[in-house]
Assembly symmetry: C2
Homo-oligomer: 346 residues x 2
């Protein structure tokens, strides 16, 4: 079994618990039979779930972790339990190269703190950022970061996020020269916080970076295909992403109400069912589940706590693809080519 294709799974994180995490691993394996998995958590519970997933039982190793990080646990306390918890042990498996990547649906802050302490950030990167892809009306998916790893960021952090996001877009999505924009409350140069404006000045003055900086973008233009990478601090990015997700759900609920309001509408709904299915597939956050911490020496993917089995499977596929594409090595090379960030204009 090649360790380079093995993904370590924190079997204990997430709202759905073991059945969803193990079910997600089984679904990911069904979609890609070359996957190998390392399932870490309560050994007895994992083996009980594996009774229902024979193919997964054959493709997975199980490792016991006596403890679990709670979703409300403070990151500063969580990091003391790296050696005994399922979350700590999936990260260790990446560090020791027993696994090519790790997936957890647990406490985001704890995962970030533990991963940063264990794997360290790449040379030239002060802080990792949480990145994910979102659907657009354009030709390519959009990379958004930071989605919540860093509540406050300075201009240098934002510039580093831009470089990492561009590398992600190039490597994973195949966009040659990603168009990068900073999320802001206006497109004029004088808009926004000092940090955002200073980051824009630096990016504008750095034409040698492997990206095309195109200024600011407002939040109502996120999905229009006008940018390949959108950069913000983690507070703002999290607010934007969750506003998008909440609105999509809000509208789905409204549609359901509207289409059951009369017999005629119901008939229309039945006829249009394939169209609705297309819409639902496109919008379902489970189909875009799996955010990665960019900037670490190792691949750590965060699955949404509320993801279903399909969502967990998607996060595992994201982790496997990032490992296959060698994203860590390639971002490191990218940063090296521009002088570990020292090439960024100040």
């Amino acid at each position: 079994m090649s360790t380079t294709s093995r993904i370590a799974i924190d079997a204990m994180g997430g709202d759905g618990g073991l059945p969803v995490m193990i079910g997600g691993a089984a679904a990911a394996l069904a979609a890609d039979p070359t996957l190998r998995l390392l399932l870490i958590g309560d050994e007895a519970g994992i083996h009980a779930e594996l009774q229902r997933h024979a193919a997964l039982a054959a493709a997975a190793d199980v490792r016991h972790a006596p403890e679990t990080i709670a979703s409300t646990e403070k990151p500063t306390l969580a990091i003391r339990r790296a050696k005994t918890t399922s979350m700590g042990l999936v990260i260790s498996a990446v560090k020791s190269r027993e696994a090519a990547a790790a997936v957890s649906a647990g406490n985001t802050g704890a995962l970030m703190a533990m991963a940063k302490l264990s794997l360290r950030t790449m040379k030239g990167i002060a802080r990792p950022a949480l990145a994910a892809t979102l659907p657009t009306l354009g030709d390519n998916d959009l990379v958004m970061l930071d989605l919540g790893a860093n509540t406050e960021c300075d201009a240098d952090n934002l510039v580093q996020f831009a470089v990492m996001g561009a590398a992600y877009s190039r490597i994973v999505l195949g966009v040659d020269t990603p168009r990068v924009r900073l999320l802001n409350i206006g497109v004029e140069e004088l808009k926004g916080t000092d940090e955002v404006r200073e980051a824009a000045d630096t990016l504008r003055a750095s034409p040698h970076l492997p990206l095309r900086f195109e200024g600011f973008i407002e939040a109502d233009r996120l999905g229009r295909g006008e940018a390949d990478v959108i950069v913000s601090d983690g507070f703002t990015g999290n607010i934007a992403l969750k506003s998008v997700e909440g609105t999509a759900r809000f509208i789905t609920d409204l549609l359901r109400r509207a289409f059951t309001s009369s017999f005629r509408s119901k008939a229309g709904f039945l006829l249009s069912r394939p169209a609705f299915h297309m819409l639902k597939t496109h919008l379902d956050p489970n189909n875009h589940n799996g955010a990665v911490f960019l900037g670490l020496n190792g691949i750590i993917v965060k699955s949404h706590g509320g993801a279903d089995i399909g969502g967990v499977a998607n996060a595992i596929s994201v982790a496997a693809k990032l490992a296959r594409d060698g994203i860590t090595e390639r971002i490191t090379a990218d940063l090296g080519a521009i002088g570990h960030g020292e090439g960024l204009a100040k």
Copy 2:
């Protein structure tokens, strides 16, 4: 003509120019024939538009303003031209009580700076905030503030916004004890920026305020009817609002694509047209157009720059309702009753 019901209109602001602003005023008058208007801007242009709106011509006075504030003009420069611009003159009309409220679709930063300088903030309020109502799945509309007046806010600003937002909810929407929440990236007490956490501490320690503080809310729960007032700094609020608006448009576009993808879907669409109409009406930002600067000694309503005639009419109706309801006096009384903000726990 009673001046208390007269609304001053900045005829020059907005992307659609004079035809949309004057058309919007005519539409607002058609909906409420008791309205009286003061149209300020290029006199010749206004009179030319009024040729097409006889009823409005009879209900409106026209005042010439030789200059216009550009949408890209810096607020610090704009305030020097208060006496010669349409934006400056609508604010002056409110200050002199020639108008009960003013509506402008121009440069938000300039409008805020000019209005603050001319009208001053209420006692106990350090900064005005831009507030608007949004639809929810619950019984009442939601009041959101600040939507972009203040890029950065401290904890005291946020607490004052909470008190003003609750007054708006009580006075305009009739909610007895508004449920207030702070927008944050998690609901646990330790989440978010220092400002947000400190504001939460103050609100929690102030049970005598005329509102019910219920902690944090995440951006994916905005429209679920779980809060009557949602408070944030202007950067975050603007990002959230525009993410919601952009997603609604994104989904409308996807629906259009989906429903024209096959003959069957098209047939379903035709049958369901009333349902779609209901959805569109509910989501159309024009139906919720008109944000007010709370905390000033006078009513200044900001119409979205991209609003259509119906949207401008809606903003004028909002201004008229706020004037009729005496929102300025009632918020002032509210603040007085709690000791001009000095009653807030520190």
